[in-house]
């Protein structure tokens, strides 16, 4: 079988007005909710745990286990529990949650209701990055429809369960994708990561027990409830169960979202995407967004699951597969990414704030051919001083493209110095270059 695509989340994306409630209901939407409401919340939790679903936001922490970290309900502690959905999708290259919410917001809404029920939360939030106004509107419309249809509000489906869902628009900061910064932002503060402990499960939003999950993780829940834990666990690999959306962008013929079981290879995905741009070869790619160390041609057969990618020296991350062909200067690409991190560093901790500021200056120098060969060692040492020293993972992520690109393309960096500038013509890597 050549087609390994397994559309679950993406199955209805092509439907007529798929984002509306009627279209979603047409293909069985909100049926899973009835199934869940017919179960004890603990059983829903167990089901998600058994399915092997791991966080789709990048870290891959088992979702059901995370839910289990909430302290047991305590009559002495009247604090509410919250479910917060992280839909602040901002990683360069990552584009799965936003298309999902754009095409089928009800999948996420249903997932929120079931998940909230499972953890006994009566209020849930979806934190969406503020720039994607059209997505926010669709999500808000979906929430309105769900309220009107009795999927949200009081006594949902006659079960006695109440849930309010708030769609919150962020203000466009990458750091707010970090879960504790997201909580600060949601509370109306300036988004900066919090000190842990206390962990959100104990004292999260408004110092109350809180579960924070990625949008795709939560959107996966209805299908699991509907089809069973075994169905989901049967897909993917033993440790990386289920399906996920792989976002191919860059120099492939048909970029887009490809939903497939975890464990697929880039070779297969590129094949599905019609191959690399005509007349060019794959040069390097990111397995999970710009914060994951680069891969090259030699990694085409790495299995794209959490374990496989890690064994090969990178991270599965958000399955944001950015494909760069041989027309791209790796120094230029890395500099652009580093500028992004410098711009998005929240400023809280020294290594990230000052380190990214400095890294950009060294990379600029190298790109222009003004640098020295020793600058590469300087870059690596700076990265060593940032990685694992910064307050949150933003700083760590900033070092990934630099260290991995020097690892695989040191000669290309040196070529800039030898030639007194970039040996590539950036115009040749543009989307319109072929047509000229």
């Amino acid at each position: 079988m050549t087609d390994t695509l397994t559309p679950v989340l993406t199955a209805n994306w092509g439907d007529e007005r798929a984002w509306t409630l009627p279209a979603y209901a047409e293909q069985g939407g909100y049926d899973a909710l009835d199934v869940a409401l017919g179960m004890a919340p603990e059983d829903v939790q167990t089901m998600v745990k058994d399915s092997g679903l791991r966080g789709r936001g990048g870290a891959g922490f088992p979702t059901g286990v995370k839910w289990g970290f909430l302290p047991p309900p305590d009559p002495e502690n009247p604090k509410p529990r919250y479910l917060v959905v992280n839909a602040d999708e901002s990683e360069p290259g990552t584009c799965k949650d936003i298309p999902l919410m754009m095409a089928s917001p009800h999948t996420l809404v249903e997932g929120v209701i079931i998940s909230s029920y499972a953890i006994r939360a009566e209020r849930a939030f979806i934190y969406v990055r503020g720039e994607v106004l059209h997505v926010i509107r669709r999500l808000q419309a979906a929430v309105r429809e769900a309220y009107a249809a009795g999927h949200l509000g009081t006594n949902i489906h006659g079960s006695g369960y109440d849930l309010d869902l708030v769609v919150h628009a962020g203000a466009g900061a990458y750091i707010c994708g970090e879960e504790t910064a997201l909580l600060d932002s949601l509370e109306g503060r300036r988004g900066q990561p919090r000190l842990r402990p206390p962990f959100p499960a104990v004292a999260g939003l408004y110092a109350s027990p809180t579960v924070i999950n990625n949008a795709e993780s939560i959107a996966s829940v209805p299908a699991i409830v509907k089809n069973g834990a075994d169905w989901f666990a049967g897909m993917g690999t033993e440790k990386s169960a289920g399906v996920g959306i792989f976002s191919l962008s860059g120099h492939v013929k048909k970029p887009g979202q490809y939903e497939a079981p975890l464990g697929i290879t880039l070779r297969k995905l590129i094949e599905l995407a019609g191959g690399v741009r005509e007349g060019h070869e794959l040069k390097f790619w990111t397995p999970g967004g710009s914060s994951t160390p680069l891969f090259t041609q030699e990694h085409l057969d790495v299995t794209l699951d959490f374990e496989g990618v890690q064994a090969a020296g990178s991270m599965l991350g958000t399955r944001a597969l950015q494909i760069f062909d041989d027309s791209v200067c790796v120094v230029r690409a890395v500099l652009r990414w580093t500028e992004f991190y410098k711009h998005e560093s929240c400023g809280k901790c020294t290594p990230c704030r000052e380190g990214t500021w400095w890294l950009v200056q060294v990379l600029e120098r190298l790109e222009k051919g003004d640098g020295k060969p020793e600058d590469l060692d300087l870059l690596l040492d700076q990265c060593d001083n940032i990685l694992g020293r910064s307050f949150c993972a933003l700083g760590d992520g900033a070092t990934s493209p630099i260290t991995s690109s020097i690892q695989y393309f040191r000669d290309e960096y040196l070529a800039h110095l030898e030639q007194g500038g970039c040996p590539f013509d950036p115009a040749t890597s543009t989307a319109w270059a072929e047509s000229k």
């Binding site: 300036r190 410098k342 560093s345 929240c346 290594p351 704030r353 001083n385 694992g388 020293r389």
Partner: protein, 765 residues
């Protein structure tokens, strides 16, 4: 809480569970470099300078990467390396990053020489930077407040200042704004950082980013001489450090005293010191032909002695700025030398009830700051700690955050009460007695703190004492001035048959000996001035020219707190001794001056014989007696001595009209509630412009309904005058308005109304 043993750099350390690694290291003398960490602030882990290697977290497994020791708690069996290659590399790396955008302008920076960044860059840095790029720049400095300036280039955004502001005084007027390398400390638009404790952010800034307008560019730390001392601005006894150069105070810093002020002081304690160099009386003066003229010490002392000796009756008003030693000297001088029972340190509205209360319930007692921490409930009556006792305010706030219940009986729900987390029982002035009888939850583990304002509320002191007796709660009196408690301990209260301060003013005694009293602070300023005019002989012991100076026959300059050694007694009863900062010739303490007068009284001729001028009193013959000879047990024959009957007016005359009952005022007037704002027109704040600029705008507080009706400016009329002032709506006790005591004109008692009276309020014309 159990103890945990871990190994830091090979040394075993046992510390309580929950201790942070950085604190545990301090226990064995290992100093880990740090910037954002501060023992009195919540950990934040922002600067990352304190990274250490933890090869074993106590579970046999190590952390793969260096950990911030300021945020990680100890664990049993943990192994910490603060100086191995991993830790050193991490620390060097962070230090290099910190200096990337730092201007390295140490040679022109006020912090240079006492700068944690400079010092730790030397001890934990590489010496040379590899950074060859462009540093970010900002216009600088910018004002966070009229007195606190920010240099954003030097700032390493450790957040010590913002955390202090939010956590310690509860004045979160500064916050981080922007992000990345542009992240900076900011204030809300047109809203300067306003806190009575703002100067502390300058002191805890680990770089030279925060400076005071007051001290900026004035001195280098290594040119300063530091002398530990005690703040003289309130009765809290905050430890301070006075930094001086060539006989001049350059700045004052908070001392570190965990039992009293921890590491914080108020801005008044920090910036209020120029009074000691402005308008100082420099030499003794005597009045001749109606004019004061400079005189020698011997002459002036002799004149003073002769005048006091000749007087039939003498009243002694020593004021509240005294050290314990000075207070004792006044007590001895009045009792043994002048033999007058008319002595009273109080220079504010007072009552006989208070006199009795101070004698029986305050003198010799002790309630400490630590007792407040341990209390289950603290009840404040007639006391506004934020304005009147800064250190006490911070300690109470800290205790409240740790769970202490605080109740305040106050005329209005102030911001200060809110920051203390206090339950406010709105109590009109005069109604404290009834309110005290209804306070709940007072046990033998509680503390009742009463302020000196209760003197104007009949029955309040007694009610507080009753409450304490009934419940077993402890009772403490918190006065405003540094010398007040010491004066109580020294017995500067009317002797048997003696008159209190108000009585002395009314009685028309022959002579008055007046020290640190501003007539405008007293219950009846005009009567006080009239008493000075009426008295046949007035001796003034003062630091600076005052209204008393203008009416004195002899003026004897005395030393300020920094010019003498002495002891302040805090509201707790704690002795706070301090050393002399400046050894100035002829800067005599009150006690020394009184000693001179005593000597002169004993042997007037010998004292006068040293005076070359024509002194009227120098007549008798006798051997010269040294100034330090103790006074003989009795004065020469014929010395004035007021008997118990004295010349006091009848007790009825002395009894002030009782204050308002607290109910609605039948006359349609309002009860006048008042206290001093921390920063106002006080004498000891004069000359400190930057400090004055940070004072909160003074407003009258009126009931919201009235504010709606009358608007933002109101005219208040009392029995002594009328003021038109800006007003804010507030939650007040029924029929009450609040006016700051000494923020306008000559103050409330001189310009507006008598203590305990009612006032009328109308819209400004």
């Amino acid at each position: 809480m159990s103890d945990v043993t871990l190994k830091i750099d090979g040394a075993d350390v046992t510390v309580p569970e929950g201790t942070l690694v950085i604190r545990a290291a301090e226990q064995v003398g290992i100093e880990i470099p740090r910037f954002c960490d501060h023992p009195l602030l919540a950990p934040v882990g922002a600067c990352r300078q304190c990274l250490v290697d933890i090869p074993d977290a106590g579970n046999g497994r190590g952390f793969p990467k260096p950990q911030a020791s300021c945020t990680i708690p100890v664990a049993e069996g943990m192994v910490v390396e603060t100086q191995n290659s991993t830790a050193v590399k991490a620390q060097h790396g962070i230090m290099e990053f910190l200096l990337v955008n730092h201007p390295l302008d140490c040679p022109v920076c006020d912090k240079g020489g006492e700068c944690p960044l400079q010092n730790q860059a030397m001890s934990h840095g590489q010496g040379e930077t590899r950074f060859e790029g462009t540093k970010r720049t900002f216009p600088k400095p910018i004002n966070l407040s009229p007195n606190v300036l920010l240099d954003r280039e030097r700032c390493i955004v450790c957040q010590r200042c913002t955390r202090f502001a939010a956590e310690i005084p509860g004045d979160p007027g500064i916050a981080l704004i922007q992000r990345g390398a542009q992240q900076q400390i900011g204030i809300a638009e047109d809203k300067p950082f306003s806190s009575y404790f703002s100067g502390n952010v300058i002191q805890i800034c680990p770089v030279g980013a925060l400076t005071s307008d007051d001290y900026r560019f004035r001195a280098r730390p290594f040119d300063l001489v530091s002398t530990p001392s005690v703040a003289e601005h309130d009765a809290c006894g905050a430890a301070i450090r006075i930094d001086h150069r060539r006989g001049k105070v350059m700045r004052r810093l908070a001392g570190n005293d965990p039992e009293v002020n921890e590491e914080w002081i108020s801005d008044k304690d920090r910036f209020g010191f120029r009074y000691a160099v402005r308008d100082r009386l420099t030499s003794p003066m005597i009045r001749e032909d109606g004019e004061l003229r400079p005189a020698s010490w011997l002459e002036a002392v002799a004149v003073a002695a002769a005048g006091l000796a000749a007087a039939g009756s003498v009243g002694v008003l020593p004021g509240g700025r005294l050290t314990l030693e000075d207070a004792k000297a006044y007590a001895t001088f009045a009792r043994d030398t002048l033999r007058t029972p008319h002595i009273d340190f109080r220079s504010r509205p007072l009552s006989e009830e208070e006199t009795e209360f101070l004698r029986s319930r305050v003198a010799g007692t002790s309630v400490t700051y630590a007792d407040l921490d341990a209390a289950d409930h603290v009840v404040l009556v007639g006391l506004e700690p934020e304005d009147e006792a800064g250190t006490l305010f911070l300690r109470l706030r800290k205790a409240n955050k740790a769970g202490l219940r605080i109740t305040t009986l106050s005329p209005y729900a102030s911001e200060g009460s809110r920051k203390l987390g206090a339950e406010v029982v709105l109590t009109a002035p005069g109604a404290e007695k009834d309110a005290l009888s209804q306070v709940n939850g007072v046990t033998d583990a509680s503390v009742i703190l009463v302020g000196e304002r209760l003197a104007t509320s009949q029955g309040a002191y007694s009610a507080a004492a009753d409450l304490a007796d009934r419940t077993g709660a402890r009772l403490a009196w918190v006065p405003r001035r540094a010398g007040d408690r010491g004066a109580v301990e020294a017995g500067l209260l009317p002797g048997e048959g003696g008159l209190d301060a108000d009585g002395i003013v009314r009685a028309g005694l022959d002579a008055l000996l007046v020290a640190g009293v501003d007539p405008d602070d007293t219950a009846d300023p005009d009567a006080f001035l009239a008493a000075l005019d009426r008295a046949g002989f007035v001796v003034s012991l003062e630091q600076r020219v005052t209204a008393v100076t203008e009416r004195a026959d002899v003026v004897l300059p005395v030393a300020t707190a920094s010019e003498k050694a002495g002891t302040f007694v805090t509201w707790e009863g704690r002795r706070r001794p301090f050393e002399k900062v400046f050894d100035k010739p002829a800067a005599y303490s009150d006690a020394e001056v009184l000693g001179h007068i005593t000597t002169s009284l004993v042997e007037p001729a010998s004292a006068a014989s040293g005076v070359e001028t024509n002194t009227a009193s120098s007549s008798a013959e006798g051997d010269r007696v040294g100034l330090d000879t103790p006074p003989p047990p009795s004065l020469r024959e014929g010395a004035p001595s007021l008997g118990a009957s004295g010349r006091a007016s009848s007790p009825d005359d002395l009894t002030r009209s009782p204050s308002g009952s607290g109910g609605s005022t039948d006359e349609g007037g309002f009860h006048l509630a008042t206290w001093h704002l921390m920063l106002d027109n006080g004498t000891l704040q004069s000359g400190d412009k930057a400090l004055a600029a940070t004072a909160r705008p003074a407003f009258v507080r009126i009931p919201a309904a009235l504010h709606e009706q009358l608007g933002d400016v109101v005219t208040i009329t009392g029995d002594r005058g009328s003021w038109t002032l800006p007003a804010l709506p507030a939650e007040l006790a029924e029929g009450t308005i609040w006016v700051p005591t000494n923020s306008f004109g000559r103050g409330v008692w001189a310009d507006l109304a008598s203590p305990g009276s009612t006032v009328s309020v109308e819209g400004a014309k």
